[in-house]
């Protein structure tokens, strides 16, 4: 490790008109063969750094400082010089595989093009394309050559993009959140393959991620960025045992890894009737296709939290929507406190709606952008005729206080709030109806990690204070462990596992749950270390 492959000194990027520099005063070295993870929330400057290294900054960006690659200055290169280096010097694996391949060209043409633009003759490029596709773990690459991107799954597209990035054997590979658009199980396979390929070829890898657990698993070295600055760097072990910067500590606490260590104190077993009882629920969207929800039965006890876990398409959202009477069921029953919800009349449904509320995944989409917080939070008050009209303002203020928002936000609109604030507004709106059951549809997944922890904390406090019952929908097993009394695991429309949390985690009843547990990022951190860490927290 005499001279590093990449050496960045006092590097900064600014956009005209932006209040804050996207990146400032960055020092960074990447040695040959090293895997470096750049961790940070959105807007931390990690993607900008990656774009600068790949020569893909927009023209409006103003960069200063030094960027050296194998002893050659990159910051002075013009577009023509960059064009010859992109793909040869630096391979780039983009964020969203679904939209990162040209939809009207075949896979084969796009892989071959990566080599022919750099002067490789076609006769040589074709067999090499086959070899590359095989290397990234795609089966039957011969048939894939003539396929189009829309015929491939997201995971397959990402493998093709990795093949393209590797096509010219670049000494550095940059992967910008390569798996954030993919399911957990696919995520692990892709990262495994990427790591293996990089190690085999002796190239370096700069992996950009928002997920500290992923970084802890894979990196030789981790860099933490925030607001365009590098806060801290170190090996996974250093960061794990002795995080220097408070923000890193916050990230560690907020990561699902830490949450994994929390254990819920089980509430006293209640002998009451369940609040919600779902029995043999079925939903088919068309007659021939498989059922979206297939014979699902479970019950929710008052004041408890139940997590419904599954990958996208597992039927968990459909189940929740049927419970909320937003979707019809093909057969089965949903009883809420003695009321049969399926087939209830309009008046009954109106009354039921008041007692069961929903918090959406993306708070920005769920709030009308034209309304201010007063109008948004008071909407249930008006709709259900709660309280006097002139008291609504006071009620809304009380609700905002309850979810930890200052009252002077009353006349702001959603666009003027941060992501975490928006989710608090959505929770306040749900609470305005004074519900008993709150369905939380992935309420954290659109938020940055530290904000996730805060919202989760708020939800816990509200449950203690108001005795709410939660149905928590998530794709992420790690998050749910610390907060649930009961876990339901769904796959392909069926409940494959259900029971008290520790039972499901300790003795998973199905292969599927076992695989989900294995695919969780952070599994490579030794269990013993995790436990000492948890004590320190």
């Amino acid at each position: 490790m005499s001279t590093p492959l990449v050496r960045i000194r006092q590097f900064g990027v600014e956009y005209p008109g932006a209040a804050q520099a996207a990146v400032q005063g960055l020092d960074l070295d990447i040695a040959a063969g090293e895997i470096v993870c750049l961790v940070g929330e959105s807007g931390s400057g990690k993607s900008t750094t990656a774009a600068a290294l790949a020569g893909l900054l927009p023209e409006a960006a103003q960069q200063h400082g030094q960027l050296w690659f194998k002893g050659q200055a990159l910051d002075s290169l013009d577009e023509r010089a960059w064009r010859q280096r992109r793909g040869r010097l630096v391979g780039f694996v983009p964020q969203d595989p679904g939209t990162s391949l040209d939809p009207v060209k075949t896979i084969g043409a796009q892989v071959v093009e990566a080599m022919t633009v750099h002067g490789m003759p076609l006769a040589q490029a074709r067999p090499r394309a086959l070899e590359l596709l095989r290397d990234v773990g795609l089966k039957a690459p011969e048939t894939l050559l003539a396929r189009y991107p829309h015929q491939l799954s997201g995971g397959m597209c990402q493998r093709v993009l990795i093949a393209i990035a590797l096509a010219n054997d670049p000494p550095l590979l940059i992967a910008d959140e390569p798996t954030s658009a993919l399911d957990v199980s696919v995520q692990r396979q892709i990262l495994d393959r990427l790591q293996q390929l990089v190690r085999e070829r002796g190239s370096s890898l700069l992996l950009i991620t928002h997920d500290l657990a992923v970084a802890l698993d894979r990196a030789d070295r981790i860099l933490v960025m925030r607001h365009g600055r590098l806060l801290e760097s170190g090996t996974p072990a250093q960061l794990w045992h002795a995080p220097a910067h408070p923000y890193t500590r916050q990230l560690l606490q907020a990561s699902p890894l830490a949450r994994l260590q929390q254990r819920r104190v089980a509430p006293a077993l209640s002998r009451e009737l369940p609040l919600l009882q779902v029995t043999s629920l079925n939903r088919r969207f068309d007659k021939r296709g498989a059922a979206a929800v297939d014979g699902v039965s479970f019950s929710l006890q008052r004041g408890t939290t139940t997590s419904l876990v599954g990958e996208s398409g597992s039927g968990k959202s459909t189940t929740a929507r049927i419970i909320l009477a937003l979707e019809r069921a093909s057969s089965g029953s949903v009883r809420f406190d003695g009321l049969e919800v399926l087939g209830a009349g309009r008046r009954q449904l109106h009354g039921y709606r008041r007692r069961v509320q929903l918090v959406y995944q993306n708070p920005y989409a769920a709030l009308d952008p034209r309304q201010d917080l007063l109008a948004i939070v008071s909407e249930p008050l008006r709709a259900f005729g709660i309280g006097q009209r002139r008291d609504h303002r006071a009620r809304v203020l009380a609700l905002l206080e309850r979810v930890g928002l200052p009252g002077d936000l009353l006349h702001r609109r959603p666009a003027q709030l941060s992501g975490g604030q928006r989710q608090r507004v959505a929770i306040a709106r749900a609470l305005a109806a004074e519900p008993e059951l709150l369905v939380l549809d992935e309420p954290l997944s659109a938020l940055d990690a530290p904000v996730q922890a805060q919202v989760l904390d708020l939800l816990q406090r509200l449950q203690e204070k108001l005795g709410l019952t939660y149905l928590f929908i998530s794709h992420d097993l790690a998050t749910v462990r610390g907060i649930s009394d009961q876990v339901l695991v769904m796959s392909q429309g069926r409940l494959v596992d259900q029971g008290p949390t520790e039972e499901v985690f300790g003795r998973p009843g199905s292969d599927y749950t076992r695989r989900l547990l294995e695919d969780m990022p952070g599994r490579l951190v030794p269990e013993a270390e995790v436990q000492t860490r948890a004590v320190n927290l």
């Binding site: 983009p94 964020q95 075949t106 093009e113 829309h150 393209i164 990035a165």
Partner: protein
């Protein structure tokens, strides 16, 4: 695949039928008596002989109830009979057929100018980096679209025929007389192509795959030619029907300005003399043109867009 082609054809026929019904409703069902107008133009208002009126009504299929007239007209349409002109007494279909070649020549010449010009301006606006030129290329189509076609025609006439004497002013004598009308007709069409293609290129350029292509070392020009243009041309295809319709509508004004014979002039004269059979004939011709064009472009889509080829939409 066969059933979908069948449904597409059925839909096309449905649109044609609806166009016929709509134009019939507008022209025949609204108050206004064509025979009365005809007789009034004959010179003796108010003194129409009842027998003469009845005879005229029978000749132009204007007798009987509205529903009978409609049924009769539809039946004749199925035999490609568009009725008889109230002015000349000759079959409308024959008049259209006689006028069509001149208009087709004009429209073809206009397309020859408009398509390369429109595409060229859109591409240049995307590629050119020099500020004033880029701004000019971006704004030119919007400017051209806001000029009245008839006025542009008159300006061209004034400049090239009356001042410079380069080109003949009026009539239909060979290629030279085709230049000015074709340019007049082509300008708004070129502007429309440039606007749609320009917008499409801009939106395709924002797609993540363009960034991914750049990251593997594809240069600006081959990015444009091989990837962006192909993707951006797909929305342009759906415009073809409207574009040809605009050409036909533009021909009405252009042929009037340049005193050329053709379908447009025929339509203008028919409206001026309230010759409803001819007006309906022109309207049906335009609708048929649109429907036929869309059927043809439907065949072209799969060639451009593999997502449609497999019949599976993402």
């Amino acid at each position: 695949m066969h059933t979908s082609a069948f449904w597409r054809l059925a839909q096309a026929l449905l649109v044609l039928w609806a166009a016929f019904s709509l134009s019939f409703a507008i022209l025949y069902a609204l108050p206004g008596d064509p025979v009365g107008i005809l007789l009034a133009q004959g010179g003796e208002p108010g003194t129409a002989d009842p027998a003469q009126v009845a005879e005229l009504r029978a000749r132009y299929h204007l007798d009987g109830s509205l529903w009978q007239q409609y049924g009769g007209a539809l039946w004749r349409l199925l035999h490609l009979d568009l009725g008889v002109s109230l002015q000349t007494g000759k079959p409308v279909a024959a008049a259209l057929a006689a006028a069509l070649p001149a208009t087709l020549a004009l429209a073809f010449a206009a397309l020859l100018i408009a398509v390369p010009l429109g595409i060229g301006v859109a591409l240049a606006a995307h590629q050119v980096r020099r500020r004033p030129l880029q701004a000019a290329l971006h704004n030119a189509p919007a400017l051209v679209v806001s000029l009245p076609t008839f006025w542009v025609g008159l300006l061209l006439l004034q400049l090239f025929s009356f001042r410079l004497h380069w080109l003949p002013a009026m009539g239909d004598h060979g290629l030279a007389s085709l230049v000015l009308p074709a340019v007049t007709l082509a300008l708004p069409c070129a502007a429309m192509i440039a606007q749609v293609l320009g917008r499409s290129i801009a939106s395709v350029s924002q797609q993540p795959f363009v960034q991914a292509l750049r990251s593997k070392g594809v240069g600006r020009w081959s990015l444009l030619w091989r990837h962006i243009l192909h993707n951006a041309s797909i929305p342009l295809l759906s415009l073809t029907g409207t574009l040809l319709g605009n050409l036909l509508a533009g021909a009405v004004v252009t042929e009037t300005v340049f005193s050329r014979d053709g379908v447009g002039r025929l339509a203008q004269a028919a409206v001026a003399s309230q010759d409803i059979a001819v007006v309906q004939g022109v309207v049906l011709l335009a609708a048929a043109l649109y429907v036929l064009t869309n059927l043809l472009t439907d065949l072209l889509y799969p060639l451009l867009d593999p997502r449609i080829r497999q019949g599976s939409r993402p």
